[in-house]
């Protein structure tokens, strides 16, 4: 049994579970129609305007920063798994990489990208 086929089994299991539960619920649940039921829930008050409203631009800054650091994680994992063999030389190389990265974080911090306004 290869891991890929087992992964496929797990994936199919997840899909089957959702579909089966939805099917059971659809068969068992009561069905009634009322135009007011379909209204978006806003604590009883009728909705005004579009629901796709503006949201803070601050979320984008965190998303961009996340992208940088997530790619960095991808780069670091291969080094982490072989760091015993690479020893001091590998550590120095990674330390340089870390310095650049930390500089990025400090820059974002000083620029106020981490400040929620």
């Amino acid at each position: 049994m290869s891991n890929s086929s087992l992964f496929l089994v797990v994936l199919i299991t997840a899909v089957v579970m959702v579909v089966a539960a939805l099917l059971i619920a659809w068969l068992l649940s009561p069905k009634s129609s009322n135009p007011l039921k379909g209204e978006p829930y806003e604590c009883g008050i009728p909705t005004r305007g579009s629901s796709w409203t503006q949201f803070k631009v601050g979320y984008y800054l965190y998303a961009i920063l996340y992208l940088v650091f997530d790619v960095e994680t991808v780069l670091l994992f291969p080094w982490a798994s072989v760091m015993r063999q690479l020893g001091m030389q590998g550590l120095i190389c990674i330390a340089v990489f870390f310095c650049i990265l930390t500089f990025g974080l400090v820059y974002a911090w000083k620029k106020g990208a981490l400040q929620w306004k």
């Binding site: 992964f7 994936l11 299991t13 899909v15 539960a21 059971i24 978006p40 998303a63 798994s81």
Partner: protein, 355 residues
């Protein structure tokens, strides 16, 4: 030690002697699927019951105590009730995305669940890049949450999803960096290999101070990953009704609820696998008698014992701390945990080279 592997090996041989190889393989696949589903559902029911019981304990109440002994069947009753609830059709939702969201959330959590080593050989997916796989698959859930909030045609769900997205992606970094220290220590990404290396000393003892710092960072970040406790901003009920799953009704809401509880289990299970030795018993080098007694306890009990200890910690935090504000939440991650985990990686590298 009694490994559950004995049972699966026996089953494998039994099927192969009576059936053709192809059919045996097919039946094994079906059995694996059924086992995962059963474990997933039973664990969810136990966790929901445990949460309510522990919460009641902290608030000097009794908790569920009517249905079954100690209220044990309460969550089963709740599950049946939620299956019987109507699935309300909301006007102007994006029907495709609205349904995709729950699939994504459940797929992310079951795929992560399948990679957990419950015992020697009791692990559905054992990739050689296991830790990486865990990080990759569990981060799929964010996409599901964002889609759920976006497609629901509701202001609250949109804001809840945005908050949730910001929180989950931020804390994922600390999670990844904390797990990286353990990868450095064990020199392998394969989960079964990492557990096997801990037969003499758990990683938290082998790694010394950096490993302890990593465990603390991982528990905080993982707790935030589950959208619970003091970090439950996305579903802050006083501000956003129920956050990103406001418009989901009946079993559709049940999926998000299920995934939330199972994610709590998964985070605790990863912590116990990578830091606390997984299914390995507690051993003290040199104490042969003590080690022999510890070996008598089955590995599955060790695994679940460690995991439920971590879960109890998570519940304790949830019912003790007040909710954070969004700027406090993001500052905690970006200004405290993130620099700390970067320093911790350097510390761990020095620890490995010099100790």
């Amino acid at each position: 030690m009694f490994h559950l592997e004995i049972i699966t090996k026996w089953l494998d041989e039994f099927l192969r002697t009576y059936l053709l190889d192809g059919w045996a393989l097919f039946i094994e696949f079906v059995l694996i699927g059924v086992a995962i589903l059963a474990a997933y559902a039973v664990l969810a029911l136990i966790l929901i019951w445990l949460e309510r019981k522990v919460c009641a304990f902290f608030q000097c109440r009794l908790g569920p105590n009517r249905v079954g002994p100690f209220g044990l069947l309460q969550s089963v009753a709740d599950m049946i009730k939620i299956l019987l609830k109507e699935l309300i059709k909301i006007n102007k939702v994006d029907p495709f995305l609205f349904r995709t969201a729950m699939f994504l959330v459940i797929i992310a959590s079951i795929c992560t669940f399948g990679a957990l080593p419950f015992d020697k050989g009791i692990q559905a997916v054992d990739f050689n890049i296991g830790v990486f796989y865990l990080l990759a698959v569990s981060s799929l859930g964010v996409v599901g949450i964002l889609i759920a909030g976006w497609s629901s045609n509701n202001k609250y769900t949109l804001i809840g999803a945005m908050r949730s997205g910001a929180q989950l992606i931020s804390y994922e970094l600390s999670c990844g960096l904390a797990l990286m220290t353990i990868v450095m220590l064990s020199g392998s990404l394969q989960l079964s290999e990492i557990v096997a290396q801990q037969s003499y000393a758990w990683n938290i003892f082998r790694g010394g101070i950096p490993a302890i710092i990593a465990l603390i960072i991982y528990l905080i970040a993982g707790h935030a990953e589950t959208n619970r406790g003091p970090f439950d901003l996305p579903e802050a009920e006083s501000e956003l009704t129920a956050g990103y799953h406001t418009e989901y009704s009946g079993i559709q809401f049940g999926f998000f609820y299920l995934a939330e509880y199972l994610n709590m289990f998964i985070i605790a299970a990863i912590a116990s696998t990578l830091f606390l030795g997984g299914w390995m018993p507690f051993h003290i080098p040199g104490w042969a008698g003590f080690n022999a007694v510890m070996d008598l306890i089955p590995p599955v009990i060790w695994f679940f014992g460690k995991t439920f200890a971590c879960i109890f910690l998570a519940l304790w935090v949830r019912w003790t701390m007040p909710r954070l504000r969004i700027d406090q939440l993001l500052n905690l991650e970006w200004k405290i945990l993130m620099p700390l985990s970067l320093i911790n990686i350097i510390l761990m590298a020095l620890w490995i080279i010099y100790v």
